[in-house]
Amino acid sequence: MTLVTESRKPARPAPGSGPGRRAPDHGAWFLVLPALIPILVLSVGPLLYGILLAFTDAQSGRTEPTRWIGTLNFQDLLHDTLFWESFRIGLVWAAGVTVPQFLLALGLALLLNQNLRLRWLARALAIIPWAMPEVVVGVMWRLVYNTDAGILNETLRDLGLGGGHDWLSGLGTALPAVIVVGVWAGMPQTTVALLAGLQNTPRELHEAAAVDGAGAWRRFRTVTWPALRPIALSITALNLIWNFNSFALVYVLTNGGPGGRTRLPMLFAYEEAFRYGQFGYAAAMGCVMVAVISIVLAVFLAGRLRSGSTGGDEA
């Protein structure tokens, strides 16, 4: 991922170079272990364990020993129409949140990069969605969407556009309603990342293009975008992953309802594992989710590499 740009500083002599160099190497291990052990024990290990679980019939609170069942979970999953429906909703949600999130964040970043008054206020307000617990974001929007006491319906009533909509429990409105919340909640991070990219674009190039008579759109396309592209792609890839894996927002807003219309794959797997105790089956769902995310990312990043030679890829 581009965010991980290794610096290319010229090699410098390491401290204490020469014969005394052996000793610090042991020191390095000593420094690394405190973080490495938890990562291995509580992150790498459990993930491998989780993948193994997908090939077993592990259940919660069962006394008989867990058995290997090969790919039976995956075969069942293949015919589980509820899961694939949830999967489809997950993809709609992920794309429906990520795309507007990016466009809105780009707009805001471009504005914040201008010399406008009230910029400080926008920066301050952008903190709110970022810093808030996701549960509170969900609670807050429940209040906004509330049928009687919500501000959304009241505003619609004031504008004479009707009202009395039950946004979060209407079959047609629930998914769009939660997508709006997803966009709102994720916008700040994206904005900050894009703003950072904008502040790295060469100002002289911009001015030169303006002198040459290039309009705002042309300047954006030829100067700003090439410089912004690597960051834009990285943050979008991350957003796509995060959104596809999101849980708390929708859990609080609708808990998957009405009639499963907002049941994201994470909610589905959570219920399977911790309500019905089907650990093995839920782990298989997790594996499928990882596989699909990897494919989507591979396609996304391959597309990026193909058209990546237009220059400006140096962050």
């Binding site: 938890p38 993948i51 903190i127 996701e134």
Partner: protein, 277 residues
Amino acid sequence: MRTSTTARAGQYAALLAYLVFLAFPFLWLISTAFKPARELGSLHPTWIPRDPTLDNFRQAFDEQPLLQAALNSLAAALGAAVIAVLVATPMAYVMARRRGRLGRAVTGWVVVSQAFPFVLLIIPLFLVLKNLGLINSVPGLVMVYVVWSLPFALWMLTGYVRAVPAELEEAAAVDGAGRLRTLVSVTAPLLAPGIVATALFAFITAWNEFFFALILLKTPERQTLPVILTHFIGAEGVADLGPLAAAAFLATLPSLVIFALIQRRITGGMLAGAVKS
């Protein structure tokens, strides 16, 4: 660059729209928190409560063990932040100062770990913690939070370490300071602000976290604030709006205050770790 007046007006209009979009839900939360029950039951709610009251706050504390939940959240977040920084700083130092295979492997892991859905992680963790008797306990949750906040902590701290010129350390070494001495008296003071910012960020992340807490904490007296908040919403999805808003507002305040303090450093740290190194 000169911009025409109409373009400027358009920019301000757009900025205003953003401000409204970003701010209104939070203002509505505050407004709801101070409204008496009778106003919340009536049609035509107003932005400013007609009859502002603190009843919702009192009722929120009566209905749910908010104080205990806040203490649990504090313990979990504090434990996670301190431990995460303690274990991440040395590793970040190594990753920043020498580019070996290990550094690349860890960086790769940081990226890859973002892609795994938490279900795949939480089921085995749940089984492991259950065997260790650490389900429904704050220490168990702290362990999970430490690992969970490590990727970002490593990321930020590596950037901060790179910002400390290695030449300073070399100079100290030339002056005869030992390696440990150099780290403690030269590097650490310069790194301190970055370490504090990282710790605060880990604190907020843990304070806000919901998914792991929901699964690992079973009884109300052990649960953290985000989990307790969901208890205000009944099984049928019907919520007691006033107390819910009041509790949600209180639960957010620490995050907002801390985040406001460190926001510049966070964005700075992200940049230092990422864009330009």
